[in-house]
């Protein structure tokens, strides 16, 4: 450990820590634009200048390793003048189009010029522009505005160092240098939108989020990406009940600072719903019911027909646990969880370890730990080939969304749960609207073996209900009350008691830690 003094505050840091990180420990923020903790240090924006006693020149904090006994000054007049000068250089040719820039509100340049910049620019000449590069779509997910670029090269280093696709390069030299795709090819890789996250200004923006909302209006709810079994940590940005974007949330163990474009594209899916109240089939049409009426019919069906249950790995640990308790333990019905390995997705964590997905559903690992039986497509088709079936999530498996499933299950589908109609749901006898994962609290088990908590952004809209609530209500109708299961938190307490892999976890710990690893040495249940 090294001891050094930063602005009079003594800190202890590990060997090899740079002054930016050391200052963070001392509670002092040093402005940086080219420095990113996940990328190689290049020290080229020159805004992170600090004064170190016994060094004649100012030094860049990002490229200077902390040394024992160092005395660092981050707010001396000399430092402030130098930073103000660098900002003046950065802003000299910057278009200052903040009112129409999507980055405004989360722009480093904007923050720093409020904090340390000069009020007026001496630049009276015409600003440098890159005609034709004002809103240039360089790939399916990213739009470039070269006029705003400050050439910090974070995006280039991201493509070179993190996912090693080497898509972006710097062309030209000096003031005319600009970012372009290698060989003029479209910038099309599975993580391309991350360059917009690392971009400190509005030069690279995510296409889907352009002109959707001002970021200072957005509510951000920490959550877990439902795109695959990896479980990247995200912040869901939403405003007035509309989800606008997913942004990666730092989790050193799972997704580092990154997330894939597929995950980001799921944001718009949360805004789509056309099932808004329970309904029962009468002939070829549906008539709507109250939840109470619908649950009574469902309870009757379960008692009389003894249907087979298709659960879903899209559901949270809590919902899956209640499914096991109610359907498997109390009612002794057959339950399966379909999974689908789907397209291989991967991400790198903070240490650069590659983390691969095993399934497209986010909670297959949780379902296995809880002890439900898993099936693939063939197993699922065999399972639903006879007797009546209740489908707890109409998007549990890709096959269920296809026309084959609708033909196969016609007349035998007792009930279906979902947010949107599929071909299959129109053949069901009973339809229930569910809440999306973003409308309910619940924990998910990542295929990396970490249990993570997803917070709800808002309460369910219309008459959609979360799965855990439907199940507890149904249990009451069946005279099999599930004791203590009055909220996801209480259900989770039950899980922790009953399933050894979850031992020692609480919601409180889950919300403060970057995921809690399951106990590996305990054999899987079931």
């Amino acid at each position: 450990m090294l001891r050094l003094t930063i602005d009079g505050v003594e800190v202890q840091v590990a060997e090899g820590t740079n002054l930016v990180e050391a200052s963070k420990k001392a509670g002092i923020e040093i402005p940086t634009t080219c420095y990113h903790p996940g990328l190689r240090v290049v020290g080229q924006c020159r805004i992170c200048f600090v004064e170190v006693e016994s060094m004649p020149h100012l030094v860049t904090a990002c490229s200077t390793p902390a040394q024992n006994g160092m005395i660092v000054m981050t707010k001396s007049p000399r430092v402030r003048n130098a930073r103000a000068a660098v900002l003046e250089f950065l802003l000299a040719n910057h278009p200052l189009d903040c009112p129409v820039c999507d980055q405004a509100g989360e722009c480093s340049l904007q923050d720093f010029s409020m904090e340390i910049g000069l009020d007026e620019s001496r630049m009276i000449d015409e600003k440098r522009t890159f005609p034709g590069f004002e809103s240039r779509q360089i790939g399916p997910a990213v739009v470039q505005n070269q006029n705003r670029c400050i050439r910090c090269s974070r995006c280039i280093r991201f493509t070179q160092e993190i996912f090693e696709t080497h898509d972006l390069i710097m062309k030209g030299r000096g003031a005319r240098a600009y970012i372009d795709t290698f060989d003029g090819r479209p910038f099309d890789n599975p993580w391309s939108a991350c360059v917009a996250d690392v971009c400190p200004v509005g030069a690279l923006t995510v296409k889907d989020f352009r002109f959707r909302a001002r970021v200072w209006h957005l509510m951000e709810t920490p959550s877990i990406c439902p795109g695959c079994s990896v479980g990247c940590n995200i912040d869901v940005g939403h405003l007035d009940g509309v989800v606008h974007r997913f942004k990666p949330r730092t989790n050193p163990e799972i997704n580092g600072w990154w997330m894939c474009d597929h995950g980001r594209s799921l944001a718009s899916d949360l805004n789509n719903r056309d099932l808004d109240r329970p309904a029962v089939r009468s002939g070829s049409t549906f008539s709507t019911l109250t939840w109470n009426e619908a649950l009574v019919i469902l309870a009757e069906t379960i008692v009389t027909k003894k249907p087979r249950i298709v659960a879903s790995a899209n559901l949270s640990n809590e919902a899956l646990f209640l499914i096991r308790r109610l359907f498997v333990e109390h009612l002794d019905l057959e339950v399966v969880v379909p999974t689908d390995s789907g397209a291989q997705r991967w991400i790198k964590n903070e240490r650069g370890t590659r983390i691969e997905s095993i399934e497209v559903q986010p909670n297959g690992t949780g379902a296995r730990l809880i002890g439900l039986s898993m099936v693939d497509e063939k197993g699922l088709r065999d399972f639903v080939s006879q007797s009546s079936v209740i489908l707890l999530d109409n998007r549990a498996h890709a096959w269920l969304a296809g026309p084959d499933a609708a033909a196969e299950l016609r007349g035998r589908l007792a009930a279906v749960f979902g947010r949107r109609h599929t071909e299959l749901s129109r053949t069901a006898d009973l339809i229930f609207p569910t809440a999306s994962w973003f409308e309910t609290e619940g924990s998910f088990t990542s295929s990396t073996g970490r249990v993570q908590l997803a917070r709800p952004g808002w309460s369910p809209v219309r008459l959609g209900r979360p799965a855990w609530r439907t199940l507890t209500d149904l249990a009451v109708r069946l005279d099999l009350p599930l004791e203590n299961c009055i909220s996801p938190r209480r259900v989770f307490e039950e899980i922790v008691q009953e399933i050894p892999a979850f031992a020692g976890m609480t919601y409180r710990r889950l919300s403060s830690e970057p995921g809690i690893p399951i106990l590996k040495d305990i054999p899987h249940v079931g």
């Binding site: 080229q44 805004i47 130098a82 250089f89 000069l118 009020d119 007026e120 030209g172 003031a175």
Partner: protein, 444 residues
């Protein structure tokens, strides 16, 4: 006038051929060096007081001494022949006159630092010179001065010629290394210095052509002999590439410590057409300009530094009384704005900005605040504000031109007809926060 050393073969027939070189006693120094201990070679160079001829004037022996002995990694020697500063054309002359002198120097340097691979990074525009080097290297290989087991001493050395692609920034040693590695030529952060981790992450020494060409002479005639030439701190001879308003511009070899008056008046024949000297730039375009009053400065590292400039690469640019200094500065900045690699903010934005201002002044649209802005750019883009010295390279001329010829600039801006500009504040003006110096009070 002393007999030239580095350019001793100038004027000979077939001066570039190995036969001519051997007639001058060529490769004698290699024969001597390869049976010495490598440490003794370094000691000899240290004793000679040889300083790098590329601009910074770092003692060569000291630089070599920084190479870690037992890193377990291969070591590399790079000859920096990417001579691209305006006004400097001395290395080209050495390659044109006597490429074997350079090769011999490289063999000695490689032996001293225990390198078995050496590169000559030559400026892309020097196409013919690259061919000359290739030819000389071929000759040396055939006569066993290069390759495996040189002169049966068991020392191996391969030399490769690597042509640059025309960026001045690649004459900076770390950018040069990046370029050889196949990447965009951009200076690296230092430390680590190339002597510790350079080419392919291995210890690397980068020396200038002229520095390397001095080595055979030192080994042949001894360190004391070399130290006796020139002054106490600046030993040996130096090539000056003289351009501008002199009767006979060209490359001249003089002992360090010769005054600029001697170089300009005796060697180059003085200023033509009976005009007066106005100013001269002593060490390539990045060196601060000196006035006619300073012509008696001796051309050695310390005396020039005392006069407020640097000896740099020895590119002496002479300007007579007819020269418009605003135009000169614009001309210089045009080069630096074009050659800035675009990495560091102050250099990238500052050079282009300063050029814009000067262009405007030259179009008679300057305003008095422009000079303050120029001063501010020059204050905040140099002395450690950038990764490599290119920031200083464009700031020093601005500073020295405004310092020494400020009158001309003031006249140009006061007679100007500035454009009507409405200055809009960057952000809502915060009058309460007066923590920064107001415009115009910066040191200039």
């Amino acid at each position: 006038m002393m007999k030239p050393l580095l350019l001793r073969a100038r004027g000979e027939r077939n001066s570039r051929s190995l036969t001519t070189y051997l007639r001058f006693g060529g490769y004698g120094a290699v024969k001597k060096a390869l049976i010495m201990d490598a440490r003794d070679v370094i000691k000899e160079i240290k004793a000679s007081g040889l300083r790098g001829r590329s601009g910074a004037g770092v003692p060569t022996g000291l630089k070599w001494g920084c190479v870690p002995k037992a890193s377990g990694k291969p070591k590399y020697l790079i000859c920096n022949a990417d001579e691209s500063e305006p006004g400097t054309f001395k290395d080209r002359e050495i390659i044109r006159v006597d490429p074997h002198l350079l090769l011999e120097g490289m063999i000695i340097a490689a032996y001293a630092i225990d390198a078995h691979k050496a590169y000559i990074y030559i400026r892309g525009e020097f196409f013919h010179e690259a061919q000359m080097l290739e030819h000389a290297i071929g000759e040396a290989y055939r006569k066993k001065y290069l390759g495996k087991n040189i002169l049966r001493t068991g020392f191996d050395l391969d030399i490769y010629v690597h042509r640059g692609a025309g960026a001045q920034i690649c004459s900076e040693e770390t950018a040069l290394i990046e370029s050889i590695e196949g990447r965009r030529g951009q200076p690296r952060l230092k430390p680590p210095f190339p002597a510790m981790a350079g080419l392919f992450g291995c210890p690397t020494i980068v020396n200038n052509v002229e520095t390397l060409a001095c080595l055979p002479h030192i080994l042949e005639n001894g360190a004391d002999w070399f130290a006796s030439i020139g002054t106490q701190e600046s030993t040996g001879t130096k090539l000056f590439s003289v351009s501008g308003h002199v009767e006979s511009p060209g490359v001249y070899e003089v002992p360090l410590g010769t005054t600029f008056r001697e170089i300009i008046e005796d060697h180059c024949g003085g200023i033509p057409n009976g005009r007066e000297l106005k100013a001269f730039i002593p060490g390539g375009s990045s060196a601060p300009v000196l006035t006619a009053a300073e012509i008696d400065t001796p051309a050695c590292f310390d005396a020039v530094a005392k006069a407020g400039s640097t000896l740099g690469s020895g590119g002496l640019i002479v300007m007579d009384e007819t020269v418009d200094m605003v135009w000169v500065l614009e001309n210089l900045l045009e080069f630096y704005a074009h050659e800035s690699c675009g990495q560091c903010t102050p250099c990238r934005e500052g050079s282009a900005w300063a050029l814009n201002i000067l262009r405007r002044i030259r179009c008679n649209q300057g305003c008095p605040e422009d000079l303050e802005t120029l001063c501010r750019i020059a204050d905040f883009a140099c002395r450690g504000m950038t990764i490599c010295p290119l920031g200083d390279a464009f700031c020093e001329p601005i500073r020295s031109f405004l310092d020494r010829f400020g009158g001309e600039f003031r006249a140009a801006v006061t007679s100007g007809n500035p454009p009507r500009v409405v200055k809009a504040p960057i952000l809502p003006t915060r009058r309460d926060q007066s923590m920064f110096a107001k415009p115009g009070t910066e040191s200039c």
